[in-house]
């Protein structure tokens, strides 16, 4: 069965607001590798609209760094699903908008043949974590204390404490640390 992987950049104090953090080449490369390991990416509308058309435009213009372009290439080529009630259409040819029940759709996708599923953003992953549907967690903790901003799993009611198993760590030159956990 396909695994659902949740990946996100956070600060030392658990802030997951992207405007309070930085993304450098090493982080981009990390997420490029991760994107290549999966064949489907799932978002809510807000995160999707942060990513599209920004990254497809980076690929078209080829004006950013090599790391940017490589991430854009990986991102552009992957199939995407957006859970949204309000999004009318998507220009990206690899994007499908889904308006049905999140739980049912993810359970169906997990049963299908294919590589793993990457989920990004905050709202949709929070719901999936609450539903117990996330199998793997990738936290890239930046060397920042944001002191404000939205925290990871804020407002989420977990049925019980989530016990994870650390399986991999990677330290970046910037002082960021990538932590990979599996659900136990």
């Amino acid at each position: 069965m396909r695994k659902v992987i949740f990946a996100i950049n956070i600060t030392v104090d658990g802030c997951c607001d992207h405007t309070k953090q930085f993304v450098d080449e090493e982080k981009l490369e990390y997420f490029t590798h991760l994107t290549r390991e999966v064949d489907l990416q799932v978002f809510g509308r807000k995160t999707y609209q942060l990513m599209v058309p920004y990254w497809p435009d980076v690929l078209k213009n080829q004006s950013e760094t090599k790391a940017d372009t490589e991430f854009a290439r990986a991102f552009d080529s992957i199939n995407k699903i957006v859970f949204s009630r309000s999004l009318v259409g998507a220009e990206d040819k690899n994007t499908r908008i889904v308006r049905t029940n999140l739980r049912d759709e993810i359970l169906k996708l997990k049963q299908e043949q294919g590589k793993n599923i990457l989920v990004g953003g905050v709202d949709i992953p929070s719901q999936l974590i609450e539903l117990g549907l996330v199998d793997e967690y990738r936290f890239v903790v930046g060397p920042i204390v944001a002191g404000e901003g939205r925290r990871l799993l804020e407002g989420v009611n977990l049925p019980e404490k989530l016990q994870l198993k650390l399986v991999e760590t990677k330290i970046f030159k910037s002082g960021s640390v990538a932590l990979r956990y599996l659900k136990q």
Binding site: D13, Y137, L153
Partner: protein
């Protein structure tokens, strides 16, 4: 100039509360499994040979308990002799030491 160091157990979703003292927190003592001898050695190494300690009363009680346990086991009581500064509006006895 002396440095202030903060050492804290923190969960991935940035929870630092570890006792139910302050309300109906359901996961009292969640840090216990991580208070291992290896973890204690890391903390002692980070404290260094000489330090003073500041803390809130509840935190200090827990810290002193941990360090006292460490003293019995391996480190010869070094951290217990650190001067501890407690931030409190309510003067209380300092039966735990200096």
């Amino acid at each position: 100039m002396r440095k202030l160091k903060i050492m804290e157990h923190i969960s991935l979703d940035s929870v630092i509360q570890h006792s139910a003292d302050d309300g109906d927190f359901p996961y009292s003592d969640w840090t216990s499994p991580y208070r291992t001898p290896a973890g204690r050695d890391v903390i002692l190494a980070a404290y260094g040979a000489s330090f003073d300690s500041t803390a809130w009363p509840a935190h200090l009680r827990s810290l002193v308990g941990l360090l006292a346990k460490g003293a019995e086991q391996s480190d010869g009581g070094r951290p217990q002799w650190a001067t501890k500064y407690v931030a409190t509006h309510r003067p209380e006895s300092l039966e735990w030491g200096p």
